[in-house]
Amino acid sequence: MKVTVELHGATKDLSKNNFLEFEIKKNSSIRDIKIKILEFIEKNFQGNQNLRKLVQSSAFCSEEDEIISESYKINKNQVIGIIPPIGGG
């Protein structure tokens, strides 16, 4: 199964494509996706601490723009969004 994570704000520094894709097991949780992203940072950004902290402090949202909890399960190919700390105005 595949999950696509749409990037926003500072997390756009993770990829020029503005998204990341991961192969995941059925019923993986958002917590599992976070681990995947942290592994990606470890591999591609030498474990950059600022990026790690950014991901750890981020929320996630569904395709329907609802904030989803860390225990939210993904059971089909799905697109989610990462919502790093915000600051509009």
């Binding site: 704000g9 402090s57 929320a59 949202c61 723009d65 919502i83 700390p85 915000i86 509009g88 105005g89």
Partner: protein, 147 residues
Amino acid sequence: MLHAKIIDTSKEKIDILNAEKFLSSSNFGAIIYFLGTVRDLNENKKVTGITYDSRDTMVIKSFEEIYKESETKLKIKDKAVFIEHVKGYVAVKEKSIIIGAACKHRDEAYNLSRFIIEEVKKKSPIWKKEHYTNEESEWLKGVSIQL
């Protein structure tokens, strides 16, 4: 009565005349405008502009929720609200957000305007990348989104 929109600066300009036009049709006597602009100095760094990123659909949803919440939290039933926020590059001194709040009385209009900008800061998924005179740029630290 709510107008909520994201303005993509590569396609159009944010313009207070649109707020005036919208709110003048509401017939409320007290109207407050809040304009957010890009300042030229932040944490001792000379700023040339800001690139705003946003999750557009979620931002509009948050504006609608803030509008609804103003009724329950501030008990302001009769109102007209105009909210536009930019997305894309904005130079120093240019506008990034326009909030227009129209109510029957000035107390309500002041309170409503303040409420909206404070809630936008907490609830609307918008991000800023600041650009400096030394050609460096940096995403600004924000606050965790609140439900």
